[in-house]
Symmetry: C2
Subunit: 205 residues, 2 copies
């Protein structure tokens, strides 16, 4: 693209670096910002810069936080003996939105993925082991994506934690509520038959 | 959404204001930025703030520019007697990319749209009239979108400029090159039959 201004070109180039944003979308977003009032754009720019420079990660669970210890870890109402292991802060938000979970979290910060050069040392594994060594934890739940990377990570973590006397569980996999059988993929359907549960158990929420 | 951090929430809120960006996309973009190095994010933030504060508009054609007079208007190679009237800088870029146009531009900065509260006084119409009053201009080309707003704007501008002794033309409308007849909408096809051109004329590029 031939830009009539270097400033415009720079801003478009920066926006194009975002995931899923191409040059045309970037230009549209930049022209939108150009049409806004200066204080508005300044607010936008400052929010980003402030986020990156001042954000903290909870020292216990590594979730994004404004303080040393996040609200969940600091809360007296949460069950500290139950740890849900997730990939990132989006998963914490998704589980919190269900209002079904009263334990605490451990945010790994990624999944093991040799293809992307992410190994166990890039994740918050050691601090998880340290949390288990205190002896306060009774159960850990793996709530990771049902992908190759998720399964690899669970496999690795399970090996690291299985000598602790704790319950190790994973979130249930099967057909989604509201899902129609004929549209479910074969693997999920096959596995959901193989891992069928007693009818009474399926009723408890 | 329940955010674990106010800084995160602020940044997501700012990104959500962009056109076509919802909360989930905004969160994805913000988390992407969080994973980048601090100088990278600072560059992103500064490019936006700089763009808004330092950008200039060409005093002749109102195109986005780093200088008082844009490169196109300042160039001796461009035909100053031919003005192409466009909506915004994206149209200038699109036409420049064709390498088929050697005149100059006039950027209106929008189209007349009563629904959005945009009237003629919001557009760069007076400065267009001033350019025509110098007597240097021999032809103007309307290169506006083939929409209700575009047609309204052409209709209005035509009334304002028709007393000048200049040629007034619009870009050709019809079936796109490479377009298959059966997929063309009825209006375009019908109009392209009604406004058919001699075969010899259609060959000149």
């Amino acid at each position: 693209m031939n830009f009539s201004s270097k400033l415009l070109e720079d801003a478009v180039a920066e926006f194009s670096k975002l995931p899923g944003v191409g040059q045309k979308t970037a230009l549209r977003l930049v022209l939108h910002l150009l049409n806004q009032d200066k204080p508005e754009v300044e607010k936008f720019s400052r929010a980003i810069s402030k986020l990156r420079n001042e954000i903290q990660f909870c020292q216990v669970c590594h979730n994004i936080s404004d303080t040393n210890i996040c609200e969940i870890c600091a809360s007296h109402k949460r069950e500290k003996s139950l740890i849900c292991i997730v990939e990132d802060t989006r998963d914490v938000m998704a589980i919190e939105n269900t209002n079904q979970y009263n334990g605490v979290y451990h945010v790994l910060g990624g999944l093991i993925s040799p293809m992307d050069g992410v190994g166990p040392s890039d994740l918050q594994v050691d601090s998880l082991i340290q949390r288990l060594e205190t002896g306060e934890v009774k159960e850990i739940i793996f709530a990771l994506s049902a992908t190759m990377e998720g399964d690899t990570t669970i496999f690795y973590l399970n090996k690291r934690v299985k000598h602790f006397t704790i319950t190790i569980s994973t979130i249930a996999r099967g057909i989604a509520f509201g899902g129609e059988l004929e549209y479910v993929d074969e693997v999920t359907l096959g596995r959901s038959i193989a891992t069928r549960v007693p009818y009474e158990n399926s009723l408890t929420r």
